[in-house]
């Protein structure tokens, strides 16, 4: 399978490079191409989405997108004034240009956007890491569910642990569970060559159904509150396992520290891929498994490790959602999980780069929040329609990103051709 993110190799090899200025200009073009294509892709998807809005409802796409923008709380950044912020670990307040008060609606909406963007960063990383090894991890949903289930059980069990330890334990076990779940697919790929797309799809459904059984009515992990035998949900985790909230109300779904864990994971992703032997081997296998094998790299081992690490990211995503704001799971939560699938769009749009994944996750998090029934102003656009509009936009983004590798490739080869031909004619 072709790797969707083919990094643009410097096309100008010494013999065909002209004067340095040309090479520099080329490099600039290519760097720009790396940023511009995802931007164009997203813009095109939003443009088509806007056309759909006009064609079907006759409403202005601009006011619709502005309402979604406001619903996602992104207007918070533009509301600059004279406010104050508390210095971390102290009671001092200092001047701050943005309003961090509880009462700010924009601030609250932005918190929700970032809460949703957090798991998307991690599931995006899960997809991206596997991509770099030439694997397509479509099983983010299953790994997310397994991670959330294990984090839930750790949170329910070890009541009374110190908070930091409890969180570390729960997230660690979630990561391990995700790694094992994805590792099954990796192992099957490595040993018998079973295609990881098929195995991860099957593992998704197995995870979903087993989790629904565990927490469903009569299941072994169903809550045992008196009088609630017919409520298909798990027990609630202990307070000591909650992720601390650093912005907004701790009881009304304020922003928890999970986002820093996700940002940390972005850094880890970059370091592992670019600064470790493992990362080098994973990338080598991703570029060309045969070449990697001939140079002595164990392709099977890297398939397994790449899937396991990928699954660990998705497992942490599930764990963070559970410890950060869900606190318990019910069967509808389990069945309606989409984080793994949206992670595919995040990784593709972010071109498997940490910064790109960060921004793409915020974009999709904002789309999800901004189109939710709670946040979108129904007088401007019907939220139920908008939710589906965001799915169309996601689909278009994935579709175009899937093809843009080719557009880039054509663009490069055409330029190579053009540069090659005049040289052949005019070379002295």
């Amino acid at each position: 399978m072709s790797e969707p993110d083919t990094p643009i190799e410097p096309a100008a090899t010494p013999e065909e490079a002209g004067p340095p200025s040309v090479a520099a200009r080329l490099a600039l073009y290519q760097r720009a191409g790396g940023i511009i294509t995802p931007l164009l892709t997203a813009a095109l998807a939003f443009l088509i989405g806007g056309l759909v809005v006009v064609a079907t409802t006759g409403k202005s796409p601009f006011s619709t997108y502005r309402a979604i923008f406001r619903g996602a709380g992104l207007n918070w950044f533009f509301d600059v004034g004279s406010h104050s912020i508390r210095v971390p670990f102290s009671t001092h307040h200092v001047w701050f240009p943005w309003n961090t008060a509880f009462a700010s609606t924009a601030g609250f909406n932005l918190q929700q956007t970032l809460i949703l963007a957090t798991p998307l960063m991690l599931t995006g990383l899960a997809v991206a890491f596997a991509f770099r090894c030439g694997l397509f991890n479509i099983g983010g949903n299953g790994q997310y569910t397994v991670g959330a289930m294990f984090a839930m059980q750790m949170g329910v069990w070890f009541v009374g642990l110190p908070q930091a330890l409890h969180i570390f334990l729960a997230l660690g076990v979630a990561a391990l569970a995700g790694a094992v779940w994805a590792g099954i697919a990796g192992l099957l790929k490595a040993t018998v060559g079973a295609h990881e797309v098929i195995t991860t799809i099957m593992l998704n459904y197995i995870a979903l159904l087993v989790a629904s059984w565990l927490i469903g009515i009569g299941g072994p992990l169903q809550q045992n509150n008196p009088g609630q035998e017919s409520v298909p949900e798990s027990s609630t985790i202990a307070n000591s396992a909650h992720l601390p909230v650093f912005w907004g109300s701790p009881v009304l779904q304020g922003l928890h520290i999970g986002i820093f864990i996700a940002i940390g994971a972005l850094v880890v992703y970059w370091l592992v891929l670019n600064r470790t032997t493992l990362g080098f081997e994973v990338r080598a296998v991703g570029y060309n498994p045969e070449a990697a094998r001939y140079s002595g790299i164990s392709v099977a081992k890297n398939y397994f490790l790449a899937m396991a690490i990928s699954g660990a990211f998705a497992g942490i995503a599930g764990g963070i959602d559970l410890l950060g704001w869900e606190f318990k799971l019910d069967t509808t939560d389990v069945a309606s999980t989409q984080a793994g699938f949206i992670g595919i769009a995040v990784a593709l749009l972010g071109r498997n780069k940490p910064i790109g994944i960060f921004l793409a996750a915020i974009l999709f998090g904002a789309l999800l929040t901004g189109t939710s029934t709670r946040n979108l102003d129904p007088t401007i656009f019907q939220p139920e329609l908008a939710g589906n509009l965001s799915r169309i936009i996601q689909g278009l983004v994935v579709l175009f990103v899937g093809a843009d590798v080719l557009i880039l490739y054509l663009w490069n080869s055409r330029r190579k051709l053009r540069r090659g031909q005049p040289k052949a004619v005019t070379s002295p």
């Binding site: 399978m1 009569g218 589906n388 965001s390 899937g402």
Partner: protein, 411 residues
């Protein structure tokens, strides 16, 4: 998909003895299903012989679709009989258990659940046999489901509904084909995108056209076929049984049976089928002898979309008579699983679809027995687990068409 690393022939020959063992194991499982309910053990839970028999049938289908016909069909037969006798035995000892398993109702329900899977699996077969991975079956089914009901509602005839549904599925398949074949994008990325798109498009159009109130009542639906003569078949009990199980089935269920036969004939007995298979196994060779790889793949993928859409249409205007967002709810992926479990063969995939349909039909029955109620969901995971084993299995592994997933570049 990954290229097979060994030559195909050597593997084909190597499986045969192992596949036969699987078939024999299936027969043994069928006998065990009966034995469980007999005196020494006297199992009273109906689910146990059914579950064991189910595994036996699975082993049989597995063996059949991997070339071991006699043993495989034997295993299917023995397991079904073992299951039936086992259940009858438990019923004989415990009178009130007839609520759990009414065979005729169970058979009727199995066909109802299997039909959408059969349509979509046959669709997937065309696409994948031609070398284009189709994980977008889910999206194509969803398009079929919505546009069939829209067409039936607006024109007032279910025939037009089926037609619009198929057209919508085929249109979405054309997008899939264009990106996979002409643009040579990654087929799995495109498939994922198509699934998102279909979810968005159908959800958007549904809310936009029908609003939150949902689809209106009295939408023309595909009629049932009443076979009155069945109840006059000599032994009254047999006649009644046939009448209750297949006497009133939806027209589309019969169509799905027909489709399996037609698919088999087209794929294995016509020049078109030969072209489709050659393009999926070795496109370069096909191109060399003058077969248009692009045209063949376009044809196959579009057919795939239309057939998968029929599966969705069965759900909306065949069975339910209404639509809801994400109506298909993962059935496209079960169909894909059935296709893989059936080793990319029409009858294998059909057998797997029936088996998976039976799992869906039987699981709710478990709720009638208190101690088994909670295993309802777990039982539904069985098809996925079996498929996982089929893809992974050292014995009788599912082997996809050689060129599936690989774009073809004309020279």
């Amino acid at each position: 998909m990954t290229a097979p690393t060994e030559p195909l022939d050597s593997r084909v020959y190597r499986w045969h003895p192992n596949t036969r063992k699987v078939g024999i194991a299936g027969m043994i499982l069928g006998l065990v299903a009966f034995w469980l309910a007999l005196p020494p053990l006297n199992t009273r839970a109906v689910a146990l012989p059914v579950a064991v028999g189910f595994l036996g049938v699975a082993a049989g289908i597995w063996a059949v679709s991997r070339g071991e016909r006699r043993t495989g069909w034997g295993a299917v037969l023995v397991s079904v009989l073992g299951m039936a006798c086992g259940v009858l035995a438990t019923r004989a000892t415990v009178g009130h258990l007839e609520v759990v398993v009414t065979w005729s109702a169970l058979i009727a329900a199995t066909f109802r659940y299997a039909t959408p899977l059969t349509f979509a699996a046959m669709g997937g077969l065309f696409s994948e046999r031609s070398g284009v991975v189709n994980i977008a079956l889910e999206g194509m089914m969803l398009m079929g489901a919505f546009f069939a009901i829209l067409g039936a509602d607006k024109t007032g005839s279910w025939e037009a509904g089926l037609f619009t549904g198929m057209a919508a599925g085929a249109a979405l398949a054309l997008v899939h084909a264009f990106f996979c074949i002409n643009l040579r994008a990654d087929q799995i990325v495109v498939g994922t995108a198509i699934n998102f798109l279909a979810l968005g498009i159908t959800g958007y159009a549904y809310i936009d056209i029908y609003g939150l109130a949902g689809t209106p009542d009295h939408i023309p639906t595909v009629p049932d076929v009443h076979l009155k003569f069945l109840e006059h078949i000599p032994p009254t009990s047999l006649g009644n049984f046939l009448e209750d199980s297949i006497g009133t089935m939806n027209l589309m269920i019969w169509l799905s049976f027909l489709l399996v036969i037609v698919t088999y004939i087209v794929i294995f007995r016509t020049p078109t089928g030969l072209r489709i298979r050659s393009v999926g196994e070795h496109p370069r060779a096909a191109d060399t002898v003058g077969i248009s790889v692009y045209r063949t793949r376009y044809l196959a993928v579009t057919t795939s979309g239309a057939l998968a859409a029929l599966g969705g249409a069965y759900l909306s205007i065949g069975f339910l008579g209404s639509f809801g967002e994400n109506l298909t709810a993962g059935r496209g992926f079960i169909a894909l699983a059935a296709l893989i479990f059936g080793n990319w063969r029409p009858f294998g995939a059909f057998g797997a679809a029936l088996l998976f349909g039976f799992a869906s039909a039987f699981a709710p029955q478990l709720q009638n027995v208190d101690s088994w109620a909670q295993y309802n969901t777990l039982f539904q995971a069985l098809p996925y687990l079996l498929t996982l084993i089929a893809v992974a299995g050292i014995i009788g592994r599912s082997i996809p068409p050689a060129a599936v997933g690989r774009p073809y570049v004309k020279q």
